[in-house]
């Protein structure tokens, strides 16, 4: 590999690995929301990337306000921004489900078109409110800089923060899905919608909250995203394809699969990117993915229960 010494290679892998972890975190948060929504309602939410952008813009908005009016709160504003991004994206998701998507449940392909239309509307709204230029929030000082375990390795603190955030959100989602009564209703509806209604579950209400939660998680992904890159009106659409890849590769109904596939896709891209150009890295990742999916069409982790 092009004249690098072993210790240099080790450092490259470690650093690119950590860069990959930031990408992994954002992809995982996005994919979690997308997978829950698809599993629950069979709706492929093309506007999911825009809900991420909503989170990112919300964070930017709150950072600007804090900087101008309440500079003393700068060190902690980011936590408030995460919470508000979640709530705001969730609220928008709730409204989108209520006003648009619930009328299309019997026509799954139309939801694809409708949510794509929604994504265009949202992109234009971003452009109108925030302008076409990319924006970045001012990050609190403690998020900047890096940690150096050896002389050659730099691990950015924001990457570690995003990873921590992702772990917490993932654990919360797992808890909600497998321990809460809402999760039980979601899993029942996913398996048999008609029968869930006939045992007394209000499936439409479950749908609405599930969609809101999925969009809210995308909002958190957006807040996390602002620490890694700048946000523009089309940021969401750049990430939606990768997110779909993660969900399909992981197996549509399996959360463990989603985690594993987000990790492998993010790492493959990030490490390859160092040695070859970014677009070639993507080509190789996609090729590998297609070949694996030919042998395992249900994704990495398919559920093994009789149906």
């Amino acid at each position: 590999m092009g004249g690098y010494t072993y210790s240099e290679l080790g450092a490259i892998f470690a650093m690119q690995g950590f860069a990959g972890i930031s990408l992994f975190s954002v992809l995982l948060l996005m994919a979690l929301g997308l997978a829950i929504i698809f599993g629950q309602m069979g709706v492929i939410n093309m506007a999911h990337g825009e809900f991420m952008a909503v989170g990112a813009y919300t964070t930017y908005f709150i950072s600007t306000i804090t900087e101008n009016y309440l500079p003393s709160l700068m060190p902690i504003y980011f936590f408030i921004a995460i919470a508000v991004s979640f709530l705001f994206a969730g609220l928008l998701g709730y409204l989108a489900e209520f006003s648009l998507i619930r009328h299309l449940y019997k026509r799954p392909l139309d939801t694809l078109l409708a949510t794509w239309g929604l994504s265009l509307i949202m992109q234009q709204s971003f452009r109108s409110f925030f302008g076409a230029r990319e924006v970045s929030p001012t990050l609190p000082d403690w998020l900047l800089g890096s940690y150096q375990p050896t002389e050659m390795i730099d691990i950015p603190i924001n990457g570690m923060f995003v990873l921590g955030l992702t772990i917490i959100v993932t654990l919360v989602v797992f808890y909600l899905l497998f321990k809460s009564s809402w999760g039980l209703k979601v899993r029942a509806t996913t398996q048999n919608r008609v029968m869930s209604g006939a045992v007394g579950i209000n499936t439409q209400k479950v749908d609405r909250y599930t969609f809101a939660l999925g969009c809210g998680i995308a909002g958190i992904a957006g807040a996390a995203f602002t620490t890694i890159a700048s946000t523009g009106p089309t940021t969401g659409s750049l990430y939606i394809v990768d997110t779909f890849m993660v969900v399909v590769f992981g197996g549509a109904a399996s959360l463990f699969g989603t985690i594993a596939s987000a990790f492998s896709i993010a790492q493959a891209q990030s490490i390859l990117e160092f040695f070859i150009s970014g677009s070639m890295a993507k080509v190789y990742t996609l090729l590998a993915l297609i070949i694996i999916l030919m042998f395992k069409p249900e994704g990495l982790f398919a559920s093994k229960v009789r149906r």
Binding site: Q191, G197, V199
Partner: protein, 229 residues
């Protein structure tokens, strides 16, 4: 308790249930018998709200449920054990039962359920899909019972189940009727099972009721003739 008035159900343009009238009082078990394709399952699906009715009305204790969604009918006291059991295969037995407890707003599975179905307690951490047919049937009944129904609908509960378990299910149904104030409606093709549980028998044929009898007056030969192909 349950009143059905001029019930008509259509698939698209073709009517398959032609204006049925019946009412079932509290503490009565009604069996609806008929050959395959005569409308038993369609009738049950329209009672629970999976199929819409095109005309007529259904009411439980004078509350009209005809236009309600399934979950609202469950809130108003109808519970449904479908043909083929339809338990949730990848939920555990315990979780399957709990899906019915959203309506009754209780957290803990009532003792009574495990007294009625001891096998479910043994299997409570297994996945529903890995139970035998008879166990799944008991699970489906348990899931319906925890909604605290006033009317319990069972669509062909003996289908595909071995004879010894059929007897158990008959005993359980009689036990449920004894300990709860409940109306039970069961659709059936097996006459011996019907005779063990029902107080009244109605025969359905091509979407019409053609025969009705109290159990004690039933002429089994005649019913058998209706059921033979």
């Amino acid at each position: 308790m349950l009143n059905v008035n001029n019930l008509k159900v259509c698939y698209g343009q073709s009517e398959v249930i032609h204006g049925l009238n019946f009412s079932v009082p509290k503490n009565e078990t009604l069996a609806i018998m008929g050959r395959n394709g005569m409308g038993k399952t369609t009738l049950f699906k329209s009672l629970i709200g999976i199929l819409p009715l095109s005309e007529g009305s259904i009411s439980v204790e004078n509350i009209d449920v005809s236009r309600q969604d399934s979950y609202q009918r469950v809130e108003n006291g109808i519970a449904y054990v479908p043909q083929g059991r339809m338990i949730f295969p990848s939920l555990t037995v315990e979780e399957n039962i709990k899906t019915g407890m959203d309506v009754s707003r209780t957290k803990k599975i009532p003792e009574e359920i495990f007294t009625l179905f001891p096998v479910l307690h043994e299997m409570r951490h297994r996945k529903g899909g890995n139970l035998s047919g008879g166990q799944q049937q008991q699970l489906a009944i348990a899931r319906a019972l925890v909604t605290n129904p006033k009317v319990l609908l069972l669509d062909e509960p003996t289908e595909g189940i071995q004879p010894s378990i059929i007897k158990d299910i008959a005993n359980v149904l009689n036990e449920i009727k004894r300990i709860r104030d409940i109306t039970i409606i069961v659709s059936e093709q097996v006459l011996s099972f019907t005779m063990a549980v029902a107080d009244r028998i109605i025969v359905i044929d091509k979407g019409h009721f053609i025969h009705e009898d109290l159990r004690d007056d039933v002429n089994t030969e005649q019913i058998k003739k209706y059921l033979s192909v």
